[in-house]
């Protein structure tokens, strides 16, 4: 029997801390009442408006849509249009709360895990995710948009034309690069790299895990792109440090990040950018 525990951390980066700005990353994780678990991240554009709010609204809207999928209130066609539906929820929030589109420029990463169906991961924009197997092998995937211009779901409602113009219009244009490392946590090595087209990036990066694949995993962890700015580490080292959980009980992500940030702060280093992490821990327990 698969049991799942979750945890998140939202860490303010030094740049925002220095300027007295709020954290523009957000993360949520937990269980659906109908069963299954979710992990969600969002990263607000630092050149947007009140994207700290936008990031929070994005995680809430993403979770809401994942819950609808989990409860089978969603059709395959609706699942395909996840990004547009997310944008519609954000636009509604914008109208209700008197926000502007600039406030809602935020990436969205959402993971839904069901012991029976497997898991679905979607990422709109940039970010990273890691899986840790039962044997301890880590696979880390980083997604980065060309020219650091990520696609934000709200573009489905406003700004899509401008975004397409910046990206070169051709939907086949390679626009989103994924890079993967693999290995023991403390010795990740590059494994592969690839590109998604503009159209595929707008549709959202997707990774499906079958129930059989889930059975081999211990952890699935989502990161905002602040993972790339954890001084003094490169991306695989940063992931390696942040995945060095001493135990998986309770607030395991918060503990690890808090310790890492505290130790780095002693030497004037640490997260330059905000960092959001959401994790689901998968434990196989014997049936009663």
């Amino acid at each position: 029997m698969l049991t799942m525990t979750t945890d998140v951390v939202i860490q303010l980066g030094r740049q925002h801390q220095r300027l007295g700005n709020p954290c523009q990353d957000h993360a949520l994780a937990g269980h659906f009442p109908a069963g299954g678990a979710y992990a969600v991240i969002a990263d607000g554009c630092s050149h947007g408006g009140q994207t700290d709010l936008g990031a929070r609204l994005t995680t809430l809207a993403t979770r809401q849509l994942l819950a609808e999928e989990n409860g089978s209130a969603s059709t395959p066609a609706a699942a395909e249009r996840f990004g547009e539906r997310l944008a519609a929820r954000l636009a509604l929030s914008q109208e209700l709360l008197g926000l502007t589109p600039a406030d809602l420029l935020a990436t969205s990463g959402g993971l839904r895990v069901s012991p029976q169906e497997g898991a679905m991961l979607r990422l709109f924009g940039d970010g990273a995710y890691a899986t840790v197997s039962q044997t301890g092998e880590v696979a880390l995937t980083l997604l980065a948009w060309r020219d650091n211009r990520p696609f934000y779901p709200i573009y489905h409602q406003v700004g899509l034309a401008d975004f397409l113009a910046l990206q070169g219009q051709d939907p086949a244009t390679p626009s989103l690069t994924w890079t993967r490392w693999r290995g023991p946590r403390e010795a990740l090595v590059p494994e592969a790299q690839g590109e998604l087209s503009l159209a595929e990036g707008i549709r959202g990066y997707r990774r499906v895990f079958s129930p059989a694949e889930l059975a081999e995993l211990q952890l699935i962890v989502l990161f905002t792109d602040g993972l790339q700015q954890l001084d003094p580490y490169d991306v695989p080292t940063a992931a390696s440090r942040l995945l060095d959980f001493k135990s998986l009980a309770g607030t395991f992500v918060k503990r690890r990040v808090a310790r890492e940030v505290r130790e780095l702060a002693k030497v004037g280093l640490g997260p330059r950018d905000d960092l959001g992490i959401a994790a689901i821990c998968l434990t196989q327990t014997p049936e009663d």
Partner: protein, 248 residues
């Protein structure tokens, strides 16, 4: 279903002393306060041993209702030269929710005062367990309270050993802070010696709780609960609670 006993492990200290504590992997929070109370259980406290027991029960009960109580792990022990290594642990570090009245049996105190052994045991157990928790990325601070009605009569441990253990707060950087408080109850005769002991080994405070009257013991219970609570509220600040009362 595992019991709290299954979730405890034993740590070893110098001089053959031991302590017990909840296994680190059972702890879900990110930070904890380790609170230790060591109570004189020697012949001279026998007239008010029951009241000392009530005092501890009252303190524990008050602590349960304080903020951050879920981040407090409490260890309680009695000391008496008749006990092996001078200290009888009533229970090791465990959450308040797992402490019951059955953890505090009545005692029949006899024997001399191994005060040095008691202080060493309390501080060293805290240091050892704090290291364990720190290694698990947990943030830890501590308060150790020793209640005595007299001076040391016989101990295996020395003031130098105690001083070295207390000094580990600074050298090991594992604990955010560790406040060690020595409290005298019915100990007016020994104030000067206890103050000198406090100075010699680096104990944070020596406080005189006065006579072992119901009122004073009630105040002592309140002081213990308040001090532990304030220490837990200081977690994450990097320093000890500044507001622990200087008198009881």
């Amino acid at each position: 279903m595992p019991t709290i006993k299954d979730q405890m492990e034993t740590g070893r200290l110098a001089g053959g002393m031991t302590f017990s504590a909840v296994r680190r992997e059972r702890l879900g929070a990110s930070e904890y306060t380790l609170a230790t109370v060591l109570i004189d259980d020697t012949g001279s406290v026998s007239p008010f041993a029951d009241q000392l027991r009530e005092m501890i029960l009252t303190a524990i009960d008050a602590l349960r209702r304080s903020p951050h109580s879920e981040n407090v792990l409490v260890r309680v022990a009695r000391f008496n030269a008749c006990y092996p290594n001078g200290v009888n642990e009533l229970h090791g570090f465990k959450p308040l929710a797992d402490i019951s009245e059955q953890d505090y049996p009545r005692s029949d105190p006899t024997g001399g005062t191994p005060l040095y052994d008691a202080v060493f045991n309390g501080v060293a157990a805290t240091n050892a367990y704090a290291q364990n928790l720190y290694d698990g990325d947990l943030n830890v601070n501590a308060i150790t309270i020793i209640v005595t009605d007299g001076v040391n009569t016989y101990s295996m441990m020395t003031p130098a050993a105690i001083k070295a253990e207390i000094g580990k707060v600074i050298t090991q950087e594992v604990l955010e802070s560790h406040r060690v408080i020595l409290i005298g109850i019915n100990a007016q005769l020994y104030q000067a010696e206890l103050q000198a002991f406090k100075q010699d080994v680096g104990i944070t405070n020596y406080l005189d709780a006065g006579d072992a009257t119901p009122t004073k013991l009630a105040k002592l219970a309140e002081f213990i609960a308040q001090s532990v609570s304030l220490t837990s509220q200081a977690l994450g600040t990097g320093g000890p609670s500044q507001s622990i009362p200087a008198i009881i």
